[in-house]
């Protein structure tokens, strides 16, 4: 299946924040959306999900324009994984996951046994089956993120939109989330995610897009987009892209972004000075 955004214009009230955004994602692809704070990534996300009215352009799924008024159908096409948050009530994890199927359920009945079973299976697939009966507000950030992914999967969507799935997570949990993103894509899910780390695009994505302050929008394969010039333009710092040879590992060569900061040199000199002193 193919998710297409054509000439999207979006923003709040009469103010356009995002302009001329066009891209497409097919099943099995992962698009990583990068850009500095406040450039409108979240606005674009909210508009693509139908939370904000589009100011212009159209979103097509397999050539069919999205009908955002038909929430029920929309939920079977696009699953939304929100940024990590803490709800006010201590729901049980399984109840949170099973909630994802709510649009598909009979309006007046709660989830039945099969739906609870399916929720447990999804948690197991994500490797967090042990969370099922824990309290959502008491588990760790990484675990909560997995629960939110599981909830979106409960909708059985064709595409997933993940709003900074790695924000507020520790290093290990970030990598675990990215692994699951890759795993879902391998199973045929089309995924659009935002991130603050260009490295994440190299780790698990097929496509990348960068939004800059001058409202320009670039999209293409990861290697095409994540370049030293683009990153400097987007974030305003000097970045080198390096290939690190890891032949003894399975990964082979790793491509990574290295910020060129003089603090690196200074702090090293201070450390060396302290050692000799």
């Amino acid at each position: 299946m193919k998710f297409e955004a054509n000439d999207i214009r979006a923003g709040y009230e009469n103010l356009d924040i995002v302009q001329d955004v066009s891209f497409s994602v097919t099943s099995g692809e992962v698009l990583c959306l990068l850009g500095p704070n406040g450039v409108g990534k979240t606005t674009l996300f909210k508009s693509l999900l139908g939370f904000l009215p589009l100011h212009g352009g159209v979103v097509l799924i397999d050539g069919q324009p999205c009908d955002y008024n038909d929430c029920k159908k929309q939920a079977t096409l696009i699953g939304y994984v929100p940024q990590l948050h803490e709800p006010p009530f201590p729901f049980e994890v399984l109840d949170v996951v099973v909630m994802g199927g709510i649009g598909q359920m009979n309006l007046f009945s709660g989830p039945n046994k099969e739906e609870y079973q399916r929720a447990e299976d999804i948690l197991a697939m994500l490797g967090v089956a042990f969370l099922a009966n824990k309290v959502y507000t008491e588990v760790s950030g990484g675990e909560r993120q997995m629960v939110l992914i599981a909830r979106a999967l409960m909708q059985e969507p064709k595409f997933l939109m993940m709003d900074e799935p790695t924000s507020n997570l520790d290093f290990g949990n970030q990598m675990r989330v990215l692994q699951q993103v890759r795993m879902l894509a391998d199973k045929g899910m089309g995924i659009i995610m935002t991130s603050h780390f260009p490295d994440h695009a190299f780790m698990c994505c097929t496509k990348a897009a960068v939004m800059c302050r001058d409202t320009s929008f670039k999209v293409g394969s990861v290697e095409e987009i994540i370049t030293e010039e683009t990153l400097q333009q987007a974030y305003g710092i000097r970045v080198k892209i390096a290939n690190v040879d890891m032949e003894e590992e399975e990964t082979g060569t790793i491509t990574t972004c290295l910020p060129m900061l003089n603090t690196i040199r200074i702090s090293r000199e201070v450390r060396q000075f302290n050692e000799t002193a």
């Binding site: 006010p88 399984l94 709510i102």
Partner: protein, 343 residues
């Protein structure tokens, strides 16, 4: 397997609360200044069911049928209505600090009643006026929100609009009190605002049943969806819910319940705030169990408080005062006992 085990406590609490409520119903029938024994009560019900001549005195029959049963039913319905509305609003607004009069229902109803009293309208009109102004206040709050937020749906603005409307109507109540005759009307208004069930008749209960039913049925039917709504509008929408329509249904239903309750018995605070908390501690935040359990717990609480109100002293204590006096320290106790998150 695991799921069934986990859900059992909630079901047990609901069944237990139901049994307690039924027992309390019969115990409350016997309480009061006019003594009714267990035997008398049994005989009265027995005669009614079989349709035979009742051996108990007319006086006892009339105390049971005309005074105590309407009052007890009203206490259960109002307690249940207020705490169900409170649980709904708390889920909907994602905030456990919200009470059912958040959108100005109580203040509006209080003004309606005060005005009807001032105009010396008959009792039925006082209730009707209270109900109508309660609804008017909430509609005003929604209207202000709609104008101010310009089509975007903003929860915070709705709550603020509710506060504005509530403050406005509270001032109007004070104004009415100021111009009311201090010999006759002022005490009447003041007593009404304190809340009480001493004047409730069978007719009042029947009349309250209409808005009550219209309000409670959708809340019970759509209670599971509240779980998703408690995660916020956007997430609920992404899960496939028509959030705009659902939120409208929840607000209208909860408002009908609140206005119906305030119309019959005046302003009774704290129930809608404290009882959903207590219930959440017992059955968890899943609204599938929270809503029915809140209803039962609210009914039990108000019935108990009303029993106290009419038996504690020779003069009846106004209900609104008692619920607050009992509710406030009880709430502190709940806060002390709570675990992480709003259990």
């Amino acid at each position: 397997m695991v799921i069934e085990q986990k859900q059992q406590p909630a079901v047990k609490v609901i069944v237990g609360a139901g049994i307690i409520l039924i027992l309390l119903f019969f115990i409350s029938l016997m309480l009061g200044r006019y003594q009714v024994s267990l035997g008398d009560m049994g005989a009265v019900f027995y005669a009614k069911i079989l349709g035979i001549e009742c051996p108990v005195s007319e006086m006892i029959q009339s105390v049971i049928w005309k005074v105590r049963i309407p009052r007890i039913c009203a206490a259960i319905l109002i307690g249940g209505a207020l705490s169900t509305a409170g649980a709904t609003y708390q889920g909907l607004f994602k905030n456990p600090m919200i009470s059912p009069d958040i959108l100005g229902a109580s203040a509006g109803a209080g003004f309606g009643a005060a005005m009807a009293i001032l105009l010396s309208l008959p009792f039925i009109f006082i209730q009707f006026s209270a109900f109508a102004f309660g609804l008017l206040a909430v509609s005003l709050a929604c209207l202000i929100c709609k104008i101010v937020s310009r089509g975007k749906d903003a929860l915070l603005i709705l709550v603020l609009s509710g506060m504005i409307v509530a403050t406005f109507f509270s001032s109007l109540i004070t104004l009415l009190k100021y111009i009311a005759d201090p010999q006759s009307k002022l005490p009447e208004i003041t007593y009404w605002l304190m809340g009480g069930l001493s004047t409730v008749s069978a007719g009042d209960v029947w009349m309250m049943l209409v808005p009550f039913t219209i309000g409670i049925v959708p809340l019970f039917l759509l209670r599971w969806q509240l779980n998703a709504m408690a995660f916020g509008d956007e997430e609920a929408k992404a899960m496939g819910l028509n959030t705009k329509r659902l939120r409208g249904i929840y607000i209208v239903s909860a408002t009908l319940l609140t206005a119906a309750a305030v119309g019959v018995c005046g302003m009774i605070g704290w129930i809608g705030l404290v009882i959903p908390h207590l219930t959440r501690m017992l059955v968890g935040p899943n609204h599938k169990y929270l809503i029915p359990a809140s209803f039962l717990m609210g009914g039990i609480f108000l019935l108990l408080v009303d029993d106290l109100a009419r038996t504690l002293f020779t003069v009846e204590v106004p209900l609104g005062i008692l619920t607050s006096i009992i509710g406030a320290p009880f709430f502190v106790y709940l806060l002390l006992k709570r675990k992480k998150g709003w259990v």
